[in-house]
């Protein structure tokens, strides 16, 4: 399956927020740990609502958590 073109800094942000565990983040945003793992491995792009909830937990803007990698045609 093609890797998502939406990249994220969730792992780094967790580390900089008191080494928050995947389970703690999952509980704060209302998903399972499996979903956090899939997002960190960039195997799943979250919905806009979940993306905002994650950014809110880290108290940063959406762009600081997620970034979009355009393909050659879009550049």
């Amino acid at each position: 399956m093609a890797k998502s073109r939406i990249n994220n800094n969730i792992r780094a942000l967790r580390f900089h927020h008191g080494e928050m565990t995947q389970q703690e983040l999952a509980d704060k945003v209302g998903v399972t740990r499996q979903t956090i793992i899939a997002m960190e491995k960039e195997k799943y792009s979250p919905s806009l609502e979940l993306a905002f909830r994650i950014a809110r937990v880290f108290n940063v803007s959406l762009e600081e958590v997620f970034s979009y990698e355009p393909n050659e045609q879009e550049k």
Binding site: M1, S4, G30, V31, T32, R33, Q34, T35, I37, A38, K41, E42, K43, Y44, S45, P46, S47, L50
Partner: protein, 144 residues
Amino acid sequence: MSYQEKRNILYLISSLLVFTFYWLYVLQLNREGDLESTNWGIVILVLVPVHVVVNVILEVLFVIINTVTEGEQEPSVVDEFDQSIQLRATRNAYLVFIIGFLIAMGTVALEMPMYVMFNLLVFSFFLTEVVWSTSHLYFYRRGL
């Protein structure tokens, strides 16, 4: 391996177990030459609750063993990732069942014996479950 993956492997084992016994029963009937005279409606009406009971027993055992050995609890939420996977797995399973159903109806149209139609339906139930579980496993492993 995640809880969801383990649970889907369990469903796969459950289906394999129930349908292996079912096919052994059909082979037994075939040896005795009773395929034509068997009431297949009753056989299927028994097969469904037996399958449900086996599923429940295996799931209870799985929860107990998993809690004791791994200390892992069942996830309390079904989130958007789970729902997306469920949707795709159901789509794949539905496609397999429809193909099986049409082939089974084709045997009726070709005036083949009724037991052929019933057993093709049971086989498509089995394939549907296998595809449903393996689709879950595939998407949990590979992502969406």
